[in-house]
Structures are given as C-alpha cells and as structure tokens.
Assembly symmetry: C2
Homo-oligomer: 466 residues x 2
Amino acid sequence: MHQLRRLTFTAIVAFFSFPLLAASNVITNEQKQTANDLIETALKSDLGMDIVTSLTTEIGPRLGGSEAEKRARDWGVKLGERLGFDNVSIEPFTMPFWDRGHLHISLTSPYQQDLYGTALGGGAPSKESIDADVVYFRDIHALSDVKDGSLSGKIAFVDGDKMVKSQTGAGYGQANQRRRIGWQHAQRGGASALVVRSVGSDSHRFPHSGMMSKDGDKWADIPVIAISNPDADHLRRLHGLSKPISLSLHSESKWKGEVKSGNVVLDLVGSEKPEEIVLIGGHLDSWDLGTGAVDDGAGVAITTAAAALIANLPTRPKRTIRVVMFGAEEVGLLGAFAYAKQHDANLQNHVLATESDFGAQTIWQLVSNVNPEATLLMDEVGKILSPLGIVRGGSDVPGGGPDIIPLAKKGVPTIRLNQNGQDYFDLHHTPDDTLDKIDPDELAQNIAAYAASIYLIADSDVALKP
Amino acid sequence: MHQLRRLTFTAIVAFFSFPLLAASNVITNEQKQTANDLIETALKSDLGMDIVTSLTTEIGPRLGGSEAEKRARDWGVKLGERLGFDNVSIEPFTMPFWDRGHLHISLTSPYQQDLYGTALGGGAPSKESIDADVVYFRDIHALSDVKDGSLSGKIAFVDGDKMVKSQTGAGYGQANQRRRIGWQHAQRGGASALVVRSVGSDSHRFPHSGMMSKDGDKWADIPVIAISNPDADHLRRLHGLSKPISLSLHSESKWKGEVKSGNVVLDLVGSEKPEEIVLIGGHLDSWDLGTGAVDDGAGVAITTAAAALIANLPTRPKRTIRVVMFGAEEVGLLGAFAYAKQHDANLQNHVLATESDFGAQTIWQLVSNVNPEATLLMDEVGKILSPLGIVRGGSDVPGGGPDIIPLAKKGVPTIRLNQNGQDYFDLHHTPDDTLDKIDPDELAQNIAAYAASIYLIADSDVALKP
C-alpha cells in the first residue's frame, strides 16, 4: 500500500510538474549499459571482501581516537592510493577519548557467579570495587519513576525485553532507551552503579556496548555496565524467586582527555562538474570488543569497492564521487560533525550523500529524499537495481545513514540502500562482530547496488536538491 | 539401508532363536496403555523445564569438586525427596581439584588485540606473563611431527578446522585430538605454552573448554589455552600474510589438591524385583563458564522428571528405577568410576543403564546393546516411541552415555535414546551454555521417551543380559 501510494505520487508529479521529461530520458541507454556492466563486475569481484578482510585482520579493533584508529586511517590512505583514487587525504579533528579499561562483574548473592558485562560508553570508573545489593527495575519506565536519593548505597539493575528483531532494525530505538538515559535516573536516585540488560536481539552471552547520552553536557558520574541477555534473564529469574541479589563490580572505564582523530577522504574527480560531489562512505572506527567487521568494516568495504569499480571505467563520471571513511562514529558521530563543519562553505556542492552502516546483509530497498525530478531518476535507478532483489521504497525518507545526519540537516539530499538488518543486532557492538559473519555473496550484492546507483547519479545532469 | 539390515536381523533372530515368543507378548496391553499415558502426561508437563530452570538459576555453574557442586548435591537430595523417590542418598568420593583461575591472552604483534580464550582442563599456570613469538601449526598432525626441543622459548599455536556439525556429534572425536593430546607434543618441543583452536562447531567468540588427556599419569606442565573459532581464524589469516605473530598470556589455572565430590542417587524401589536396578541419569557437575543447561542440566532434568512421572503411577514398576546424578563427569568421569567401584559387588543386579548427556534437542533414535530376547523388547519399545519421531536404530551399539562407560565395561547392558546433536557443539563447554538455549517442547519430548521406555523396561520380566 505504501508502495502504491508512492507510485501514484510519482505519476502525479511526473504529469503535472515535468510533462516534458519522460522517465526513460533521465538515463541514457549507454549509462544503463555501463550500470549493468558494473553490477556484473561487482558480483564477480572479491574486492569488497578483500578490503574488509584486510581492515579487520591487519588493523583489528579501532576505537575512535585510539592508536588503532590512526593505523586504520593510514591503511585507508594506502588503500585509496592503490585503488586509483585521484585525491586521497586525511582531515583531522580532535575529540575526547573514552577508554573501556578492565571490568569485572559478578553475582555475589545468592551465590558467586561471574557475569558477562561491559562498560557502556561515557561511564565513570568505580574507583575501587563496588559490592552492593541490587534494586531491580522491570524496565526503563519503572526506573524513570524512581525517587531522588532512594537508591543510595545500591546498584540499580534495569531489565527490559530482548530487542525485537526486524528487517529494518525498528526495535533498536525503543530498547536503546535503557542504555541511553538509564544512568540519569539511577544517578538521580543515588545509586552507586547502574547495570542494564544490553541492547541486542540475540541470546548469546555477549554484552552489547554502545554510547550513553549526555545529560546536557554532562556524562555519568557512576559506572554503567551492560550485561548479556542470558545474564539479564538470570537476574530476572532470581528476582522472581525473591532471592536477595548482590553484585560486585569493578570498572576502570573513564575519559582520558583530548586526542586526535580524522576522516579519510578519497575522491574520483568528476570529468565535467568536478565541483559537484556525490558523497558515499562508512565509518572507519569500531567498538573495541570485536574487530568491527559488520559495524562498519562492511560499509567501508562496500563504498570503497563500489567507487573503485567506477574508477576502472574508461572515463570518470561527470560529478565527483567522494568516499569518506568517517572517524569516531560510535562515540558520537564526531567525524561526521567535523566533516560538516570543515566543509560548511561548500555543502551546497554536495549534491547527494549516503552511507552504508547497517552490516553486510543484502540490500532490499532504495529510499530517497531528493527533489521530484531527481525522484524520477531514483525510480529509474530502482529499475536497474531490481534484478538484485531491490525494491523501490519511499521518496521522502530523510536520513541517509548516521554519519550523513549532520549533512542532511544542512540540506544535502540523501538516498539510502536499505540492508536487511534481521541479524544485525545479534552482533552489533559485541565481541562477536568478526569477519566470519560476512557472506561474500551478500557483500558483493551491496557493492553492485552501490556501484550502479552511484555511477548513475554521478553521471547525471539532474539536480537533486529541492 | 542400515535400518533395513536391522529389521532383517531382528526377523531372523525372532524366527530361529525364539520361535515361541511372539513380539507382541513382551509388552502387555495394560503396560502399553500406561506407557502411552506417560507420554501424554510428559508432553503436557512443565516438570523437566522447572528442574533445569531451578538447577541453573539457583545453583548456577558447578565445576566438579567445587562448593557449587556440593550445593547442587544438596539441591538434588531435596528435589528427590520432594518428588517422592523412595530412597535418596549422596555417595561421596574424593577427587583432585583443578581450578581455571584468571586468564588474560592477547595478540601483541603485529598489533595489540585481546583474544577470547580459556584454559583447558588440567593445564598448568604460567607463573608470570608469557610473552613470546608464535609457531603456527596447521593441525594436530603438523604439531605431532615437531622435533624435541625445537619450540624452546616459543608459544605453539595449533590450528585445525572448525568442528564438523552432525546429528550424531561424529565430528567431535577428530576435532578433539588437538585439545586432548596437543600439549604432549608442544611440551616435548619445549614450548612455553600451547594455544589451540577450541573444539566447537560455532562461529561465535566463545572458547570451548574441556579436559585434556593425561600422558600416563602426568598432566601438562605448561599452560594450554583454547581460543574461539573467530580468534583462531584471525591468527590463521595473520599467518597467511606472513605477519610475525606474538602473544602475551597469563594463566592461573592449576591443580589444588584433593576435595570431596559425590553422586546423588534417587531410587524408586521395584514392587516385585527390587534388587534389579534400571539405572538412568545425567551428570550434576558442569563446566564453570556457563550454567550447564544443555550440559548436563538437561540430562538431570530429563531423567529425574521421567522417573518422577513413573513415581506418580498407582504402583511401582517391578524393578527398581535408579536416577543417578553423577558428580565430576567433565573432569574425567570421576563420579562414574566411583559409582562402578562402590557398586562393584552388585553390578550383576544392574539390568540396564543409560544416560542423557547430549543436550536438550529431540530424541530421534533408540539404540540398544542387550541380549536377543531383550532386543525384541526394545523393538516393541521403539514402536511405542515412534509417534514421538523416534526411529529404532542398531541393536549392537555399545555405550549408553559417558557416565555409563565404566558400567558397560563391566557387562551392564545399555540402551541409548539418541538426541539430535546438530547444535550441541555450538554451546558445549562455553559461557553460552545457558537456560535460554533449551526449547521446552523438545525437552518434554525427551522426558516422554524416557518415561515410556524406562517404565516398560522396569516393569518387564525380560532379562537383558546376554
């Protein structure tokens, strides 16, 4: 039905606004042939898999602001040079560095059992070990009702439900509340620490890390620890048995001052309108528990490989294609904000932006947020992507990916090639985010879709801005 | 074809050896009705799930010889009393205690990255941290060829392949070699430590623990560490890139002297031949990383619940049904050997033995190793189990389960209700062996099969020994 609405809308727009432009004219037969050739080449190529293998194996975990992230930038520069990009650079920025440090958390009553937990991003250290009774909260709503000072000397545990799985990742926002703002209520209640059921759709014994939200410009003064779904189930059952629950925890997580990070920028300079930029990318940093294969080595590999295939064409497309490997995304979109600020003067030249940052499963939908004429172009792009199992979705879907948000806010048009996220939150921010989780065929489908669509947009004369 | 062979064999035996005994006579209509009623009751009952929930939640991890295993024995006694067993006792034995202690293992060259590892059972401590270059061996065969003293000052890493998945668990024995005997070759080579690809069929970032084999009566003098499949993949890729690999590891695992353990024995005393014992059971201990839900909380729950359903019948079956919750199975079948020794004088009265120790997935096959007349009985039992999706398998399959091996060696007849082990080695000996992995319906199917078959055998006059 949504689909039907879109088609009707498009037909109306086509009839009333642009009667002279037949849909078939926005893409030439030659462009169409080139796009199909790119798809064919991408599906046979190992380049994307080679890139994500190299990044995860030769660099490994690369927390925003870390020495490993710096090595990743150098890796990105070398990769860009090797793949024949015209301009390759690092755009540095500074950022505050949060370090996870060591954590130990265990159940001490009704008996001793180690728990599988990890500090949440932005959390404070425990100084020494905290040994305290637990106050159980069924969900974030119950914790939100806590009275000021009523948790003094206690550890708060906020349960909740396992994140709902979906193709779109729709369960994330709701589940994420306990991770984002739980600490504000626990701290207001006077708790010594907060333990939360981590935000993930799996039943594995991995805690999911992730950043908390600031309260204004203040981070938590207490340790905040996520425990795995099976561990949270365990505490829930003990609570159900009316067993007194106590925990012992020691966390070294803390802020460590300003450090350097940066975005890696790789350009294929346009042959006719080099000043017009079609921006694609992923983020180079990862959480430190895994090796950042699906989040977001895959996105870096998909977009870099897609651009590299376009670089192999006999001529450059008309517009510049820019691949940005954003730094420090996980810890607050810091590279994205730095990019938007550093390029503020010429954002009007960014004709489109999109990011791949939702794993490595197949793309199933193309959505866009561009002007009506450009919507017709996207409809035609959608037809070319259709054999890849991709359906055309909404033409008024803002976003484009996390690192694109600051650009979209400033009016840069976006599209998004939506990936199947059914299994993404099984792995997201856990030690289990490793290379073996990527299916080479699914990765190649992503690259085919990016290569074809980005080529067609970059080689088009259609303006995308409203 | 195997099935066909068996049927033919049975038919021949029936014709030539026991022409006067019609198969239909070995089970009366009344017994058949009772067995079917037990199946119906078991499929509706929550008892098994309640038992394994209680054991994993209220006791948690319970390493052989630990304080937690003692609490588990007390739990077993209380459970047996509550469920109406006629005799409930603990049969103590002593054993050497191996403690895992703390482990830290990380890659230090070509760059720093923590690895997910765990000490293997029987391993020695590292004293202080071992920082050394790695010598890579593709598999146990390559390590076996190592020259004496050639690994001095090095850490040996023995790779291998991810364990092959199968319904029967057939991949375990082959994969297990590196865990069992790898240390003997590494130590002979003079290595400071051995790291092995852990034995599991999953691609999760969990190391699988497990016991090593003694060399005569000697345990390893070096630390032996299993790392997860994704971590082993990582080292393999680095090796493939000809990167120099160094590791840092510190392990506290060690032997800590003699401690007490015990088997919990629950009897339903037979109404006509109380001296004849049909022994079923599982093992009460677990590895310490998970909470021992599938290994072997499930087996304890299945066999105890099955016997408890039989206890609810108006009269006891003719023979005694004994549930044994074996202690210290994981660390070398210590409870099983203690039981066989302690009951040596009356093992001739153990008419049958079988154990449930292969997870909680559905039973798909009934195999046996009893005399020809009893084989006919098992064929009839098989027909009654058939609606549960269980096929009759070989009538000459020795075993009966790990803890039954010492009894089988002394001539006790066995059967086994083979479970689907397809996913068992994804979880086996890892932190991920937790309650959420058990499907209540699959557990109930197990209990139904045990209740019906054990009732029929215990209420039979057919001798099972050759």
